[in-house]
């Protein structure tokens, strides 16, 4: 049946009908609401500079957070490995949240289980839950590896994963050889990015140690010339594809350490499998012999980087998310340096095309004031991109900074980057602030454009600023994560997204003499 015949209304259109509007009006008598004047005054006050000051002196409550907790990151990390089942040790709710959170972003199922700890576990410890959980989940989901992370509950009662897993082996629930990696990820520390890091490090070190291999970087028949590449907490499956394209153009051999793109971008075949793709478990110990490691989220992957350069003795290059022309240039230069291979002509050509596109669009971007929200590495990339297009970052919020990377902290790096450009002079970087702070900023010091996750949409709407959705999570738009935003191609995507949002805004707000055809 066609749409006309069916005419199904969803809640956006249905409840605009007169009869419902009337009903809501009638209801007001039961509400004992404030007068309209009071409401308007309160709203106006919340937009004032005076309130902003109060808001920024707020110490103890977070309003509209822009971060998720550590184990959520761990679940994503675990899904980056072949046939690996993420296993959350704690009470069951957290796991349900992680699964919906990730599924809502990627529009794909998220296989992940929990030990469903309850009160008795809180008193006696969660060992039995963990052992039963391992037995059940291995039987049900047939993983080739289980990757366990803790939640705050398990951490508070002080469960010892290592000995629990050992006991599970003694009890014969899993065999001695069955791989079980783990990490500790209390949610009262860090955020989803530190949790991601912890699990990646957990898996790499576990698989490496048990293999008995001794790392000799640049050696070994298969792995000696390979490059290890890590994308980090990567909400874009498209970025994996783009990176593969770039590495393919270099014609270098490589191993992606932590590749969840298969799980989150699997084809429709009519049959659901629990596990799609991922880094092969056997490739992990071999990665210790690789030529070098390239990390594309240096703040996120801090501990993993330390581990790799320390234990694997490997040369390590750590960049932030390579956005924009300069960001990509650095990426290519780094690959070339690490591998000794020349930069491929196809990429130079692609660069030229994207620079051309940037030139075409620059009049609409120049001087546009933007607000940015995101994780540290994404923000470094975004700031760089904005500055090279002549956009002016004004408000920058990073809820889960400040992660330091060796001596440099995110805030320092961001500020240095901004200070180096005439377009960065107006910017302020706020670390540890939330989206309610951002709302004050947007209302008090208006910008032309906000860039951030879906969660930013409430503040952006209040401030009547168009929002370009970049980062994690994006719940209210489809397929954004399928398009890369890194590399030259990604730069083009980002550019189109931004410039076309601005053009749409122009059309929406013009209907008179300047409602033009050509822009």
């Amino acid at each position: 049946m066609s749409r006309d015949e069916l005419n199904i209304k969803d809640n956006t259109s249905l409840f605009k009908e007169e009869r419902y509007v009337q009903q809501r009006e009638n209801k007001k008598q039961f509400e004992a609401p404030c007068s309209e004047k009071e409401t308007a005054e309160a709203l106006a006050y919340s937009k004032s500079a005076e309130y902003m000051e109060k808001n920024f002196s707020r110490q103890n409550v977070v309003i509209n957070p822009h971060k998720a907790c550590q184990p959520l990151g761990s679940v994503m990390a675990a899904l980056g490995f072949e046939k690996t089942l993420p296993f959350v040790h704690g009470s069951q709710g957290c796991n349900a949240y992680f699964r919906s959170h990730l599924s809502r972003h990627f529009k794909e199922p998220t296989p992940s289980v929990s030990t469903s700890m309850t009160e008795d576990a809180a008193v006696f410890g969660g060992m039995n839950n963990l052992i039963d959980g391992l037995e059940n989940s291995v039987a049900l989901y047939k993983p080739e590896m289980v990757a366990i992370c803790t939640t705050c509950m398990a951490e508070v009662i002080g469960d010892d994963l290592n000995s629990f897993i050992g006991n599970a082996r003694i009890k014969g629930v899993i065999s001695e050889e069955y791989p079980v990696a783990y990490c500790n990820t209390p949610s009262f520390v860090g955020s989803h990015i530190t949790g991601y890091d912890a699990m990646i490090k957990g898996i790499l070190s576990y698989l490496y140690t048990r293999s008995g291999i001794e790392s000799k970087p640049g050696s070994g028949a298969e792995s000696g010339e390979k490059l290890n590449v890590m994308l980090g907490f990567e909400p874009y499956t498209g970025n994996f594809a783009e990176l593969r394209k770039i590495l393919g153009a270099f014609d270098t051999k490589y191993t992606l350490l932590g590749d969840h793109s298969g799980n989150y971008d699997s084809p429709a075949t009519g049959e659901y499998e629990y596990y799609y793709g991922g880094t092969k478990l056997a490739d992990v110990p071999q990665a210790a012999n690789a030529l070098a490691t390239l990390s594309l989220q240096k703040y996120t992957l801090k501990k993993t980087q330390e581990y790799i350069s320390g234990t694997w003795n490997q040369q390590l290059a750590a960049l932030s998310t390579p956005l924009g022309i300069k960001g990509t240039d650095t990426l290519l230069a780094t690959i070339s340096e690490l591998t000794g291979l020349p930069i491929p002509a196809v990429l130079t050509e692609e660069r030229g095309r994207v620079v051309d596109a940037l030139m075409d669009s620059h009049p609409y971007l120049h001087g546009k004031r933007v607000a940015l929200v995101g994780d540290p590495d994404l923000l470094i990339g975004l700031i760089g991109f904005c500055l090279e297009t002549g956009m002016e970052p004004v408000h920058i919020i990073c809820s889960n900074g400040d992660v330091d990377f060796n001596e440099v902290k995110f805030k320092d790096e961001a500020e240095a980057l901004l200070a180096a450009s005439p377009y960065g002079t107006e910017a302020t970087v706020h670390v540890g602030k939330d989206l309610w702070h951002m709302r004050s900023l947007l209302l008090n010091d208006k910008v032309d454009l906000a860039i951030g996750s879906s969660h930013l949409k409430f503040a952006a709407k209040d401030a009547e600023v168009p929002l370009v959705r970049v980062g994690f999570p994006i719940f209210d738009r489809h397929h954004m994560h399928r398009y890369p935003i890194i590399g030259y191609q990604g730069t083009l995507n980002l550019l189109s997204l931004i410039v076309n949002t601005i053009l749409q805004q122009l059309d929406d707000h013009n209907s008179g003499f300047n409602f033009e055809l050509v822009r």
Binding site: N7, I8, C94, S116, G133, I157
Partner: protein
Amino acid sequence: MDPLRQDEFDSQACGSMAPKAKPCPRPKPGEAAGGCSFDGAQITLLPIMDAAHLVHGPIACAGNSWESRGALSSGPSLSQYGFATDLTDSDIIFGGEKKLKDSIDYIAGRFAPPAIFVYSTCVTALIGEDMDAVCKEAADRIGIPVIPVNSPGFVGSKNLGNRLAGDALLQYVIGTGEPEPETDLGVNLIGEYNIAGEMWDIEKLMNSAGIAVTSRITGDARYKEITWAHRARVNMVVCSRALLGLAKEMESRYGIPYFEGSFYGAKETTYSLRQMAYLMNDREMERRVDRLTEREEARLSQELRPYRKLLRGKRAVLYTGGVKSWSVISALKELGVQVVGVGTNKSTEDDVRRIADRVGDDTEYIPEGGASRIIKTVRERKADIMIAGGRNMYVAMKEQIPFIDINQERHKAYAGYEGLLRLAKELTYSLANPIWKLAASPAPWDKEAPPYDR
């Protein structure tokens, strides 16, 4: 269905049994189970739209859950805000009570809500925070109710959380206020959360039969109206056994009769409306309800005719949170859709009995086991469509099974007569989409014979 007389009523399924101490099955380790009690408590209370909801714990619980439910508001939006104390490691060691107190003060000062609900989480419960004391002290100091909701995730399932939220309402809210003198008293709707605006359809229907809604517990509710819920004349528990205890307690405390009902399907809707009028003991109202339901049913069956033709004999697998299952089955049956598999993992024994009353003998019960188990049933029973919630949606897509979202994230209202019509349309729509054919046929070059030969 005739309304039940009071004596029969007591002996029947409709709420005569107080919920058992542990009405909800325990989650099993190692499975991809549903939400926790904290989640359940939030679900029940978040639709109190003008109140502030503060999560006391580390970022996990709030950071992963704020503003992700489809309970709609017709006005205030404070409930949308994600307030959290965001405890960090030093708070865990030294205690988060000071932070909680300051957070409450800040919210009271800046947002002036009529009440603040404070939710405990696994962590705050484990480190032994005296949340009740902090809330009480704060309430005395700032002069607005500050309500502790003691439902940390580890105590059990989502359903248990619903119940604990009901307990909090009983203990701290219901009976603390009085309706304005001119308020028309009627029915409390308990356990209807206005997902996709369903509450509004129900209210419209009740109003046209002349039945007033006294308190919404809690779909699109205002704090104040819940304080006077004890003045209602009837309680209706809307397909949610978890809140039965609330109704039961209100009966013994305030003498308010209650019944369990649903608005999914014409029959259940009619039954519910009639039961309301009957329990109000108002002949005139009963007559009005009869006229309304007759008219609506007639009109509906007229309008449903074309869809019934298309839907007759279609087979569905239903996998909801359990509480909704039995009522949705009725709705589907009226459309001629056969339920060949139904999830019961969160259902109580009573729910299962109700399901059994409504399905045929060859329906498969899916107790637990997550996605693979559901899919197996779909395949084995040759189901045409799957009706479930968001977490299972993408699995259905992977398996190329037509799907309807029946849980919190849906955007279509399926309650009442109009809702049933919408459900019929949506089913038709979903089954007929060309994408299923496209998805089911391989790429042309992968076929053994060209398509026109098939």
